[in-house]
């Protein structure tokens, strides 16, 4: 695994060294590597270490039980089982080598070419791969036996060809992924030839996943070859585990132990290969995502309480604190946030990404990721409606408009069915009434042909249209509080103003309270009655919008206001801000 170290590819090399080190810390990985290593040594030394010639028959050894002379006993022809087992290891290793080398040579080469050059090579390669992968391998190998007889290497070459598509798809995908990485671009710009780029930069990225696939392929080759020998479709003159399984199976009622030895050998080798591949893959991909535990979600939702008092604010947050568990203990992302929203009022919650504004909004909704913990404070919601409890507020009295319209519609359902479903879940209306309401809402939010959109799937409409649909869904149940999380950030500049206008219109019409999460002071100036500025999980300033704009108290607010021009014009075009939640997700998953 040594290679010339150059500054350009130093990064991936270091990463890989780390990978092997991590691999050696996993007991299963080390165990499977030791097991494999032992078998490889046995296989290589097999011509010299068998206690008897593997084909030598001796009358006393016929079906003999294990003894000092024959450690594992003798088979029905009187051959020493241990000797045949050792010799069979060589046969297994040989099959694995031939099949994987052929598969690697064809699959990786074609994958590199297809991924790197694309176009015709890619089209042809993918087409051939699709055909090969749909072929039932064993049946072809059986047919092959009818054609060319019992030659192990021919069967294994054929198997290699049949397995090549797996390597092709893997390599192609990896190459396409890495081709446009900066360091490859840099190498291309600096004038390195294609061959050197592929050899040096791309191969190093492809290598580890290909090793994983090779381990699996070797396992398949060994078990398939043994399977063919078990069917009798192999060269019987050479000792092989599959052949021993066949003989042991025929002898099952006389000496059941005879089938156990080749079975154990086959089982240990194949599972060691697969386990090694599994472990290496897990090391590469990091830990598997943990399945969230049940019950955490409902505990969070219950912190929203319904109070019927007219004098109180619609929404009252008091010293809210939210934390995420990390290896170093809980990390607090929202500290002592206090804010309120009155009926008919639009409150802007402003801050940069990571300021905790989205976390605060999701706390109110009860939609924090499962790992999040509300560590302190209270959320009080005062509903004018009867029968509202903490667990049924959501979707009825509190509604939500997300940031990214396209990813917030289920791609597998029509828009109409999603709207109707939501309305029915919240209100229990009949299907017909819910459909009527959905159609009139679609018209209200400015969709030109509500009937057509009702029947359309999400991928058939534009982002601006999708956001209108989501707004229609949010206001369908006449909510008292609307929480909008960056509702215009992901949209074209031309559409942004229309959507804001729509939110303002609906708010006036229905007298909703609105909590508008945004990083954009322009939006705040346009829409909000009051503004709450957050930074690093804390509220740094609260006040009427006009006051805050004219006389900002906090230094941070001043800085933000001063930067409006360059921040907004540049940022809106270059990077739609990443949602706060998704960054936390990544941290906690790791």
């Amino acid at each position: 695994m040594s290679e010339a170290m150059t500054p350009v590819n130093a990064a991936p090399v270091m990463e890989r060294n780390g990978m092997w080190r991590r691999l050696f810390r996993r007991p299963v990985a080390v165990g499977s590597m030791i097991g494999l290593g032992l078998w490889v040594v046995i296989a290589i030394l097999s011509p010299w270490i068998t206690p008897y010639p593997p084909n030598q028959t001796s009358l006393d050894a016929t079906n003999a039980a294990p003894s000092a002379e024959h450690w594992l006993g003798g088979d029905r022809s009187g051959r020493d089982i241990l000797s045949r087992l050792i010799a069979g290891a060589g046969d297994a290793l040989e099959s694995a080598l031939i099949a994987t080398i052929v598969a690697l040579a064809i699959g990786v080469t074609a994958g590199l070419l297809a991924g790197y050059y694309g176009k015709a090579i890619d089209t042809i390669g993918s087409w051939v791969a699709n055909i090969l992968i749909a072929i039932p391998g064993i049946i072809i190998l059986i047919a092959l036996y009818a054609a060319v007889g019992s030659t192990t290497w021919v069967a294994m070459v054929a198997l290699g060809i049949l397995m090549a598509p797996n390597f092709f798809r893997l390599t192609r995908g990896l190459v396409i992924g890495v081709k446009n990485e900066l360091y490859v671009d840099a190498a291309r710009v600096s004038g390195l030839g294609d061959l050197r780029i592929v050899g040096r930069h791309i191969l190093s990225a492809v290598r580890a996943p290909v090793i994983v696939q090779t381990a699996f392929a070797a396992g398949v080759a060994i078990s398939l070859q043994a399977g063919l020998a078990f069917l009798g479709l192999a060269d019987n003159s050479k000792p092989s585990w599959g052949g021993m399984l066949q003989e042991g199976f025929a002898n099952l009622y006389v000496a059941p132990l005879q089938i156990v030895w080749p079975g154990l050998a086959l089982g240990t080798v194949v599972s060691a290969l697969v386990l090694f591949g599994n472990e290496l893959r897990d090391t590469l991909e990091g830990a598997r995502p943990r399945a969230p535990k049940r019950g955490e979600k409902s505990r969070l939702a219950r912190t929203v309480t319904a109070v019927g008092d007219e004098s109180e604010a619609l929404l009252d947050l008091n010293n809210l604190a939210v934390a995420y568990p990390t290896r170093q203990g809980a990390k607090t992302v929202v500290h002592d946030v206090t804010l309120s929203v009155d009926r008919g009022e639009i409150v802007g919650l402003v801050g940069e990404s990571g300021s905790g504004k989205t976390q605060t909004a999701f706390s109110v909704l009860g939609l924090l990721p499962a790992e999040a913990i509300i560590t302190g404070g209270s959320i009080a919601f005062s509903s004018r409606r009867s029968g509202m409890t903490a667990s049924n507020l959501l979707g009825r009295s509190i509604a939500y408009i997300p940031q990214e319209p396209m990813s917030n519609l289920d791609p597998t359902f029509t828009i109409g069915s999603q709207l109707v479903y939501g309305i029915r879940a919240a209100t229990g209306k009949t299907r017909g009434r819910a459909k009527e309401l959905a159609l009139s809402l679609l018209a209200r939010v400015g969709i030109p042909d509500p009937n057509a959109t009702f029947k359309a799937y999400p991928h058939q409409i534009s982002g601006g249209m999708a956001q209108r649909v989501l707004i229609a869904g949010a206001v369908a149940t006449d909510p008292e509080l609307l929480i909008a999380d960056e509702p215009t950030t992901a949209l074209d500049v031309t559409v942004q103003a229309e959507i804001l206008e729509l939110i303002r219109g609906l708010q006036k019409e229905r007298g909703m309270g609105v909590l508008l999460v945004t990083h954009n002071f322009g939006v705040v100036a346009d829409l909000c009655d009051r503004v709450v500025v957050m930074r690093d999980g804390r509220v740094v300033e609260t006040g009427r919008t006009l006051d805050v704009f004219q006389q900002p108290k906090a230094d941070y607010t001043k800085k933000l206001l001063a930067a409006i021009l360059d921040v907004d014009t540049v940022r809106a075009e270059i990077e739609p801000e990443e949602s706060d939640v998704s960054t936390h997700d990544k941290e906690t998953v790791r």
């Binding site: 047919a143 069917l231 089938i259 086959l266 599994n278 598997r288 399945a291 990721p369 869904g473 949010a474």
Partner: protein
Amino acid sequence: MTTFILRRLLAGVVLIFIVTALTFLLIYAGGNDIAFSILGESATPEAAAALSTQLGLDRPIFVQYWDWLTSALTGDLGTSFFGPASVATTLGIRIPVTLSLVAVSIVLTAVLGVILGVASARRGGWVDRVTQVISVVGFALPSYWLALVLVLTIALPMPWLFPATGYVAPTVSVGAWLMSIALPAIALTIGGVATIAQQVRGSMIDTMRLDFVRTLRSRGIPERNIVYRHALRSSAGPALTVLSLQFIGMLGGAIIIERVFALPGIGSLAATASLRGDIPVVMGVVAFSVFVVVVVNLLVDITQGILNPKVRTA
């Protein structure tokens, strides 16, 4: 949707054509050698040549293939080299055995895989750990190996419960049929369940983290409906693709497992025919297998189109 199905159908026909043509070229290329292998090495060249002519093996190979293909389209797959039985008739007797075994296994795999996958994605904890262990075992060991273990540990000690060998058609006795295919089906299923469960588990966890799930929750839709109506549907697509690959694998696995349990399916037919050089029978098995694979893939594609509207336009 219609063009989508037609295109898939066309791809399937092309696959059948290519695979049968290649296999035919491969196994019929022997020409005169085939006649020798039927008659035995001691046959005179004249006798071999006569047999070649009689079987039509002396004609150009493309003519032979065209002949085979056109008769195959009418359901005539030729006659065995060793006896009067037509290949189609023999296959007709053998296919139900293999198909019933594979069908039971694939249904078991799908149902158990989805249940285990959803459970380990939703509950985590011990369900998740058990699934992980089954996955490693099922993935690491070939199905015929598991079949041999089942024979050693269950069928031999308890022959009154599950027979180690033999097959009873469901038309004779459904109960006896179930008993006769129970062990082979379990052996075939374990590996597949593991793979499907892993796939479903992974995509369920991923899907439940998607934005639209949060929005559905914000509409007050009950969690159970989100899991089963939305998340499972989104996860079903990738799982189906894996299931169709599993099916191809099972068809192959069944062939070896039939030998273990002495089931009279196409597997043992293919092995015996291949051993004695009964090329028309081998050809028939290959054609049938590819046909089944194409039909299954077509069904999977149509289901994908129903599940995910984006696929239809692809």
